[in-house]
Amino acid sequence: MTTATVDEPVNPAVRSDGLVIDLHHVAKTYRGRIRALCGIDMQVRRGEVFGLLGPNGAGKSTLVKILMTVIRPTECRGTMLGEPVGHKATLAKVGYLPEHHRFPPYLTGSQVVDFYGSLAGVSRADRRHRTGELLELVGMKEWAKKKVGSYSKGMRQRIGIAQSLVNSPEVVLLDEPTDGVDPVGRRDIREIVQRLRSEGRTVFINSHLLSELEMVCDRVAILVQGRVVSQGTIDELTSDKRRYEIELAAEPDAAAAYFQRALPEAIRHGEHATLTPPAPGERETDRAPPTHSPLTRRVGYHGQLATGEWLEIDHATLRIGSTEPATIQPIIDALRERGAVIRSIRQNRPSLEDLFMQAVTDPSTGATLKPGADRARKGRTP
């Protein structure tokens, strides 16, 4: 990675409300009545890194293709850079890396950047100096004169990112940018994204690699079966799911027994746990766990403390839905009093993966949703 910049400051007056992409009710129904998108509302603010995540076939690429005029929406009330979606001239200010891009194999790396630059309307002089700069930025300078046909997947991806920046775009849409890229390449791409943000550019990333998104995104939207199920900053999305985790140094069954004794009511009834201190003179060995308690059979118990916080037992870990240290002190006391050995206490927030899994899990059955678009009606896949 080098210190080259993507230069040319971004026009700050995109829109008075600072929205670079403002979508309302974007819908796409393919022939055969596959509903790929069912009314998307999504807002991307200027200068942020926005992550769109969702399982395969959720409609992520379809949405990006609608923005890039590759696919015509069935319905769309929305703007990009202040112009209606589909306005061709706006695309001169937008960079795009398609998911499964294929560059003409007879072009060299620098010719690819130059060619797509000229299609984007960049002048010859600008293309000339930007091509070299961008190839250096993506670490492909030594390969600039080699034909794209001889590149590896990761190298093509790097060239793809270089070409998406050739027009100094105000918005860059990257569809699975780290697809097929090795860990070094991923780190490089992350750094480029961060650099773009620092230059005030807006980056829209489509990915199913959640850890990648988590590291760079300011805001995310989760798309499932053509619908946005949640949208916001990672903090906003996880605020009600932040928690403490207390892990005991014990086998799951033994740990469950400790939790059961420390929080008997919450465990038995699934609600309103009260903390019961040990009876005077009671010793741990006097209250051996019943061998067939519900907990030994079913790990993953949910309950609620009397103070209202949720709690959850997962193997030897107890999770309490609170960010208040005061909440967990009595629990620690109760466990310690019963002789439980605490391995760790962590203050935690759910990962994007947790959010994602929650979004793709059917709450009624607990099963994960099948990948693909909404197939409520029969038809062919798009």
Binding site: M68, V70, K88, R102, F115, S118, L119, R124
Partner: protein
């Protein structure tokens, strides 16, 4: 910005073609064909190839002027066989992949996501394909122009009409190739379907040619019989009058014997007249069927006729007469009076066919073909502009 994008698309098309070896193979073959022209020579002593004299070919510059030799060679070999046949197939093979490659997944997203309208993108690609053919035909025609000028001594700028004509001819096929490419997304499928379409036109042309031939024969036969009947009637009348006068009958100057009298004297006349009536019927039928096929051909592109337009320009009817008939050839189709057998003159038939074909207007040939191309292109544009990729 538009110029920049268009230039970039053309440069890309050039690089794409350049990467296909066939482009250069075609150009080299073109060079060979021109070199073969240059190698052929004709002088007062006879026919030569390079420095070898071919004594067994009974031709010399008195019978066939060098200019006409080169022109006919250019038309029959260079244009009709090389450009309109072999090179056209090579060009189709080279360019058939343009649209399927353009709309292939991963590449079309890159193109459509640029500030270029879909229609402009599509038409620019189309034009780039034609530019390839223009370049190939241009090189060939210019080289031929110089060979005919230097070796034949005639600088014929009309020869360069081959460039727009062959490009127009190719575009009639290329528009179908593009439409098929768009529909099937496959290079091979679009190429095969285009060749099939070309074959269909070829069949139509063959049928048209056969009908024109039939019509020429039928009309030559009819005309010969009309002439023969008129002549026979005239002769018989004169014979009748002379005979009756020799018997002492006084006949006025404007005396016309009745039909019965004439028929009574010439026993063959009835047969001839019947034959004339049937020939007239056949000629009318041939004209009708030929007219129907002509109408049918109006809606399809005229590939053959377009190429033949150059011959029409380069070789005048007078030249054609010189080329078609030697001096001892019968010029007219004749009928034997007694047997009523028709003896066709090859010269007469050729000239009749040439006249029928040359009567077809340039507007009909090119206008309807371009109309066809415009419709196909418009359809392709609509498909390309509305498709989700």
């Amino acid at each position: 910005m538009m110029m920049r994008q268009t230039a970039a698309l053309f440069v890309d098309a050039y690089r794409e073609l350049n990467s296909r070896k066939l482009f250069w193979v075609t150009l080299m073959l073109s060079g060979l064909v021109v070199a073969a022209f240059a190698a052929v020579g004709i002088d007062k002593q006879g026919f030569t190839i390079l420095w070898f004299r071919l004594d067994f070919i009974p031709l010399n510059s008195d019978i066939l002027s060098p200019a006409l030799l080169y022109k006919t060679m250019f038309l029959s070999l260079g244009l009709k066989i090389w450009l309109a046949w072999i090179a056209a197939i090579l060009a189709l093979i080279t360019t058939a992949g343009m649209i399927p490659d353009l709309i292939a997944g991963g590449s079309i997203e890159m193109m459509l996501s640029k500030p270029v309208s879909r229609i402009r993108l599509f038409l620019t690609k189309y034009a780039a394909g034609l530019l390839f053919v223009t370049f190939q035909v241009g090189v060939f025609s210019l080289a031929s122009f110089f060979v005919i000028g230097v070796r034949g001594g005639e600088w014929e700028p009309a020869l360069l009409l081959a460039i727009p004509l062959v490009v127009a001819f190719f575009s009639f096929l290329f528009c179908m190739c593009v439409l098929f490419g768009l529909l099937t997304r496959s290079t091979i499928a679009s190429l095969l379907l285009t060749l099939l379409f070309w074959f269909f036109i070829f069949i139509l042309n063959a049928a048209d040619g056969a009908l024109v031939q039939w019509r020429s024969m039928a009309e030559a036969q009819r005309d010969a019989l009309v002439r023969q009947v008129a002549q026979a009637e005239g002769n018989t009348r004169q014979l009748l009058i002379a005979e009756r006068r020799s018997l002492g009958e006084e006949l006025p100057e404007d005396y016309h014997p009745t039909e019965e009298e004439v028929a009574g004297v010439n026993p063959f006349l009835k047969g001839l007249r019947d034959k004339r009536a049937s020939a007239e019927k056949t000629a009318a039928q041939a004209a009708k069927w030929s007219g129907i096929l002509f109408a049918a051909k109006t809606i399809v592109p005229k590939t053959g006729e377009t190429i033949d337009l150059l011959e029409r320009t380069l070789i005048s009817m007078a030249d054609l007469e010189a080329l078609t008939g030697s001096s001892d050839m019968p010029r007219q189709t004749t009928v034997d009076e007694q047997t009523a057998e028709v003896e066709f003159s090859q010269y007469d038939l050729s000239m009749r066919s040439a006249t029928i074909l040359r009567e077809r207007s340039v507007l009909w040939i090119l206008g309807t073909s371009f109309a066809f191309e415009a419709v196909v292109l418009a359809l392709s544009c609509v498909i390309f502009a509305r498709r989700d990729f």
